[in-house]
Amino acid sequence: MNKFDEDIITALATPNGEGAIAVIRVSGKECFNQIDKIFKGKIPLSEAKKNTIHYGKIIYKNEIIDDVLVSIFHSPNSYTGEDSVEISTHGNPLIVQKIIEILLKQNIRLAEPGEFTKRAFLNGKFDLTQAEAVADIIQSRNDSALKGARNQLNGLLSAQINNIKNSLIEIISLLELELDFAEEDLLFISRNEIITKIEKIIRTFEVLISSYKFGRILRDGVNVAIVGKPNVGKSSLLNYFVKENRAIVSEIPGTTRDVIIEEVNIEGVLFKFYDTAGFRESEDEIEILGVQKSEKTILQADFVLLIHDVEQELDLNFYNKIISLIEENRVLLVQNKIDKTIKKLKENEIGISAKTGEGIEKLFKVLLERIGQTKIYTENSLIINNIRHLEILTKAKNYLTNAVKSIEENQSQEFISIEIRYTLEMLDEIIGVVTTDEILNNIFNKFCIGK
């Protein structure tokens, strides 16, 4: 029945495909003995010192498969908490494939997705929020997302949730004490004090909730639509961002028809720029479709760069149309082609040249400021980037708002208490007291095989 204690599992831990090296993970009780059957180094791994690295060859049926480096980890000092081995081979998929096949013949089986992490979790290496964070770290495509996930991994989220839980438990136990002595009609905590405490917690929830947007941005990237009238230089700007001729640029208005997406990493934040068809009345069916697409892109964007040719008059009708699609504070008006004008820009105007690159540094700075609210979220602040957490915190906040309402309506203790209990129940879901199939599947399914 205790299959995970006996089974030794293996999988490729680095991405599939060619690379300089590939790492194959093996984990399970006394897996060193199994590996020794196919590994020839100076000494057998089973006799090697704890947590050391060994050079040697993988040999199977007298055939040398590859030169490898083998790191050995003794329980509990490994990722999974079990005896583990990491085999670094040359990054040739054929070699990797072959080694794994050989391993599978040594009483070792292929790991399921997330099984390494699951074992780590079962061996008490970390709690549920931390397991979730591992999934996020693996998926993180940039620095900031990594930091956010790492804070969660370090238990910051659990710690903060536990703090909140404790202060709610304190309130609830005083309310309950009042009920336990209902006949004596005692008040152990003033209602104003409860309200103050709860409102403070509500504010913490709000900060966390609003951090989600930023957290999500960190993880998935910021969606920025580049829009404007035809020929203002949208495609040129995109090309400048990616430093190559990605989109067709021409003097002919209406060049771009379809949406072109490119990812750019700016100071650790992932941006996805969407070059769109220029807006204008047109008879051309394809162009009309293109404009419709541009509108849709705006609706789904986190942010809009509204490109304007500095030499032209600003068309207010057009501007209003754009801000009917997205809030004005998420739109940044950018004057392009400043290289070919003598017009002086006002202090607060942003001018660039997609041709020379002038002003683009400043554009980045403004952009980061506007989307990142970087002043609020420092490296160490807690950012939630998980939709499950967002939903739970939103519900929790509603319960607490109800609790305050109950107090204001002078309701009896049990009605205040029940809302606080629901809140606690929600918080327990985050830190894993209330574990359900869905939650777990959600977490471990995020992993791919080998993690």
Partner: protein, 624 residues
């Protein structure tokens, strides 16, 4: 014939319920008890019910137990407590004539078929191959039995204290039960000691009632039991209680005796905040409170004793008396008996399973105060379920384990097994996380089906109960649909200074308004009276409907939560699960889980020392 299916040791509240339920399920039962004339004696307070305890009595009654009937028949005051709170907190309480309660118990038990009452003391339990086979008594008898339910209350090696002077005994003027603990410990059980106390008794003519606040019973008293004939209720003359308060001077005098208080030492060792039996405790715990409420309660119709509720104490008698004389109304009080504390053996209840059977010895059950609880109602509830389960096992019927979301009795056993606290366990509404669903008014709806299943409630009784609830649900259904026009109710709304209707509104929406009652709405125009003639003169049913409608939102939300939690609640853990194979557990969690052997993941979550991480580890393991 010294041969029984079930032997119950101890004729207290637990023993009564256990022996009656098992006998009514058709088994041959013996109740062995020290004093045939002391059946169901109220050791302490001459009262049944109260906060959360009233709920227990209603549940016992709904399952077909005895306590509600005995309380109704001996009640000299009936009151619903906490009416200022929501309906989930409302709790029935009765003052009872101590003598009549016991007489009613003797009478009731004498009529039960298959039940033999034997006056003796069980001194030894006998097992063979981890299965109970019999008992030996003080009179030297040997009885053979398939099951033994021990309901010994405060009597196992009981020692009483007033001040620091101990005397052997389980209750005032009663002997202790010696030998049984030792025989259980020999089998491998772990025992511990607990203490509880009782307040002084006062001469009823030495109290100055004229300056005290009188507290009569409810004008329209309601019985506990659905079987009680309401037309003649209450059966006995009704008496009042009186309210008074301690004051700072009283507290200072009591403090002079703290060095002599055996209870007080326990408190220093950290008795939890929930349990607050003695006046000494209260003074220390709530030291910023300058006075504490006391109730002067009658002990019976022709008793000269009054009971000073809230003044439980084990301080030396002279200090108790000196302090009491400073209490308003007690200036010239005559103390007939000082308060005392009793210390006794109990068996930390992790040793029993959710069906009250011990994990160590099959066929052996513990019920009542022996499990570390305190209170008649807690004891009775345990006795009832131990009796049902012991009988069910012999009859090959499924066991009865109530869920926390289903009954206070479910909360009780789950807490006992999982928390196994070392202070006396008393029921509070706060222990029930789903308390909005566990009201007195729906106890029968929740539980009578089980009473019927185990033969403790007759088919006719069940039909009657089901009819009542179907009438309630039918009425709620029509109130949800019934539209009331502005001109039908605006008059009433205006006289009550409430916002009037512009458009028609359903009756239930109107009933939901905090300022309106169901009677207001129904009587707002005559046509409704006819339509609801079946319920209009049944206050109990009207009240129940009103609760269901007014608190619908809360009830529904709570139900959803129950369903959500059931997902973990229902994850079974194999009986002999080996916790040592999972490394991820904390040491404490592993020890506790191994000791308590929870049946489900839900039960495991409530074990103290088992952390969220432990639970998720266990869950992931069970799933893989």
């Amino acid at each position: 014939m010294n041969n029984f299916d079930i032997i119950v040791a101890g004729g207290g509240h637990a023993g009564i319920e256990a022996s009656v339920s098992a006998a009514r399920m058709g088994l041959k039962v013996a109740l062995i008890t020290m004093d045939k004339n002391g059946l169901g004696r109220l050791s302490c307070n001459p009262a049944i019910g109260g906060s959360a305890k009233g709920h227990l009595v209603h549940e016992i009654d709904a399952l077909g137990g005895v306590m509600g009937i005995l309380a109704d028949n001996s009640g000299i005051q009936f009151r619903t407590l906490n009416k200022s709170k929501g309906p989930a907190i409302w709790a029935a309480r009765s003052q009872n004539d101590r003598k009549i309660y016991t007489l009613e118990a003797i009478d009731y038990l004498s009529k039960i078929e298959n039940l033999e009452i034997i006056e003796d003391i069980v001194t030894e339990a006998i097992e063979e191959n981890k299965q109970i086979v019999g008992v030996i008594t003080k009179k030297g008898n040997h009885f053979v039995t398939k099951s033994l339910i021990i309901a010994a209350g405060t009597f196992l090696n009981g020692v009483m204290y007033t001040g620091l002077t101990p005397s052997i005994g389980g209750r005032f003027k009663e002997e202790a039960a010696v030998g049984l603990t030792e025989s259980l410990v020999k089998m491998g059980f772990v025992s511990g000691r607990l203490k509880t106390g009782t307040p002084p008794r006062l001469h009823k003519d030495s109290i100055n009632y004229s300056i005290l606040e009188e507290q009569p019973g409810d004008e329209n008293p309601l019985p506990f039991s659905f079987k009680t004939n309401k037309s003649k209720f209450p059966f006995l003359p009704q008496l009042s209680c009186y309210l008074t308060y301690t004051n700072e001077e009283v507290h200072r005098i009591l403090e002079t005796g703290f060095d002599f208080s055996p209870m007080f030492r326990g408190l220093i060792d950290g008795v939890g905040p929930r349990y607050c039996p003695s006046i000494e405790d209260k003074i220390v715990r709530f030291n910023d409170k300058l006075k504490h409420q006391l109730f002067i309660e009658p002990e019976g119709l022709d008793s000269i004793e009054m009971y000073l509720n809230g003044f439980s104490s084990s301080l030396p008698a002279e200090i108790q008396l000196k302090a009491m004389k400073k209490i308003k109304g007690l200036e010239n009080v005559e103390m007939l008996r000082p308060g005392y504390a009793v210390e006794y053996d109990f068996f930390p209840p992790y040793q029993i399973d959710l069906n009250y059977e011990t994990k160590l010895i099959k066929g052996l059950y513990f019920a009542g105060q022996i499990n570390g609880t305190s209170g008649y109602e807690e004891a009775a509830g345990q006795g009832l379920l131990a009796g049902i389960n012991a009988a069910a096992k012999i009859l090959g019927m499924p066991e009865l384990i109530l869920k926390r979301s289903e009954a206070y009795l479910g909360v009780l056993i789950d807490d006992l097994v999982g928390k196994s606290t070392d202070e006396p366990y008393r029921m509070f509404t706060s222990r029930a996380e789903h308390r909005l669903l566990l009201r007195q008014d729906n106890a029968m709806e929740r539980l009578s089906k089980y009473g019927y299943k185990y033969g403790l409630i007759t088919k006719e009784e069940l039909n009657q109960i089901e009819e009542k609830y179907s009438l309630i649900h039918k009425t709620i259904f029509s109130l949800n649909k019934l539209k009331i026009k502005p001109n039908q109710i605006n008059n009433l709304l205006e006289t009550k200074n409430l916002s009037i209707l512009d458009n028609s509104e359903t009756a239930s929406k109107l009933i939901k308004r905090p300022e309106l009652t169901i009677s207001d709405v129904l009587s707002s125009f005559p046509n409704n009276e006819k339509k609801f003639s079946e319920i209009i003169d049944k206050p109990e049913i009207l009240e129940k409907i009103e609760i269901e409608i007014k608190y619908e939102g809360y009830i529904q939300k709570q139900q959803e939560l129950v369903e959500k939690l059931d997902k973990i609640e229902n994850v079974q853990i194999p009986h002999d699960f080996d916790y040592s194979i999972i490394k991820g557990f904390s040491t404490e969690a592993r020890q506790k889980l191994t000791k308590i052997k929870p049946r489900t993941l839900g039960q495991a979550t409530r074990i103290s020392g088992v952390t969220p991480s432990d639970i998720s580890v266990l869950f992931v393991y069970l799933k893989s």
